[in-house]
Chain length 233, copies 2
C-alpha cells in the first residue's frame, strides 16, 4: 500500500518536467527546498535526486546545483531497442507505415495498463531495417495519459523519447515474453516472407519511473538477418 | 590492462571456496586480515566482501563476522533459466538425454572463451518441459577450467550450481542473441515437430564473477506452449 516517499519527490519533479514547468537545462530547487515543499526529509529528497541522476533525468553540478538534462541520453532509451546485426551493430529503423487509432480497451489491456483505461490508443507501425521490411510493432497506450497523441503523427522513431518529452512518462523497465511463431497471412504480406516462416514475437509491458505500466507492445521481427540481444544479470 | 584490485580479493576467496579450503558456513578472515594477506587496502577488501554478499556468496553477520553461504540462493541461479508458462509459472525441466564429449575448440570458441582454450567440453542435453521434449541445449566449456566434468555425469539440471560448487565459477551475467529459426531435420526429430516449424534459438555467453567468459551455450526451444521471459532496465 502506498508508494515510498522518494517516489513522491520523483513524481513531483517528473510531473513538472512533463508539464513544461521545469525546462531542459533549468535548475531544480535545492534538496532543502524540495524537502520542505513536498514535506519529506532531506535524505528522501536526496535519494530521489540520486535516482533521477542515475537515470539521466537530472545532472548535479558540484557547487552549482541540480539541472534538468537537455534530454535523456539516447543510450538509455535505446536500451529498449534490442535489434542488432550479427556483429553487434545497432540498426536504425525506417518507418514504412504508421496507423494510430483510438479504440475501447480489451479486458487484458484494462487489467494491465495504468489506471484501468476504458479507452486506448493503438499505434501500429511497420518499419524496415537494412532496406527490408523487418518489424511490425503494435503499441497500446492508456488514452487518458496520452491525450492527443494521434495529432502528433508521424511519430518519431523512438516513441519513448516522445513519451518523456510530451507526457512526462520516463520508461525505465520492461518485462518481455518472447516466442518463435509461424508467419500468418498478414505478417507474411507485411514482411514479405512466406506463410509459416519463423518470426520472433516479443510482447512487452513497459513501466515508467513511477512503476506505472504505461505501454503494452507486441513486436514481430524477421530475425533471418538480425538478432534480438539481451543481457541477464 | 590488469583487473581492479577488489577482483583480486574476490578471486582469492572464490578460489578457496572452489578448492574446498573455505567450506559452506565457514568464517572468512576479517577485512583487516584479508587486506594484509592479499596486499590491498582495507577499503578494497570491504568492497570485495560487499560484492560477494550482494551476489549471495557470503553473508555478513553483525558483530560476528563474514560466512560462506551454504549455497547461492536458487533464485539467483534460476535468474538464468528464463522459460515460463504463459501464466508466468516457472517450469522444471527433466533430462531426456545427455552427452558429454571433449573435443578441439573451434576458432570462435578459442577466441571468445576464457584463456583461449585449445580443448573444450561439449555438453548436449535434451530436456522435456511439461512432459514434452522442448529444449536442446549445447553448452561449451574451456576444458582446463572444468577438468574431469565428464566423470560427473549425469550432471545436475542446473549446471551453474555445479560450476559454482565444484569449479568455483560463479555465473553472474550472460549476453544473449535471440532468433526465430525453422526446425532442421535433427531438431525436428529431437523435439517432435515438423521440419520448418518455428523454434527459438538463444545463443548465450556467460561470464563469472571475475568477468571471465566461461561458457558458450546454444539453446533451441519449442515455444508453442512456453515463453522466454526477460526484463530490460
Amino acid at each position: 500500500m502506498g508508494q515510498p516517499l522518494y517516489q513522491k519527490v520523483i513524481d513531483t519533479i517528473v510531473a513538472r518536467i512533463g508539464a513544461g514547468e521545469l525546462l531542459a537545462g533549468g535548475m531544480l530547487p535545492s534538496e532543502t527546498q524540495l524537502a520542505a515543499e513536498i514535506g519529506v526529509s532531506q535524505g528522501t529528497a536526496r535519494k530521489a535526486l540520486m535516482m533521477l541522476e542515475q537515470h539521466g533525468i537530472v545532472r548535479r553540478e558540484q557547487g552549482r546545483g541540480t539541472f534538468v538534462t537537455a534530454r535523456t541520453p539516447e543510450s538509455s532509451l535505446f536500451n529498449f531497442f534490442r535489434l542488432r546485426e550479427d556483429d553487434g551493430t545497432i540498426i536504425r529503423p525506417e518507418l514504412i507505415e504508421e496507423k494510430i487509432i483510438q479504440r475501447p480497451a480489451s479486458d487484458t489491456e484494462r487489467k494491465t495498463l495504468f489506471e484501468k483505461p476504458e479507452s486506448v490508443y493503438e499505434i501500429r507501425r511497420i518499419r524496415s531495417l537494412k532496406g527490408a521490411a523487418s518489424t511490425i510493432e503494435t503499441a497500446v497506450l492508456p488514452a487518458p495519459l496520452f491525450a492527443g497523441i494521434e495529432r502528433r503523427a508521424p511519430l518519431p522513431s523512438a516513441l519513448y523519447i516522445l513519451y518523456q518529452q510530451n507526457y512526462g512518462c520516463i520508461v525505465l523497465r520492461a518485462d518481455e515474453s518472447i516466442k518463435a511463431i509461424a508467419a500468418g497471412p498478414d505478417e507474411a504480406r507485411a514482411l514479405k516472407v512466406e506463410e509459416g516462416a519463423p518470426l520472433l514475437r516479443v510482447e512487452r509491458l513497459a513501466y515508467d519511473i513511477l512503476g506505472r505500466p504505461i505501454e503494452r507492445r507486441r513486436s514481430i521481427y524477421r530475425t533471418d538477418q538480425l538478432n534480438y540481444k539481451v543481457t541477464l544479470d
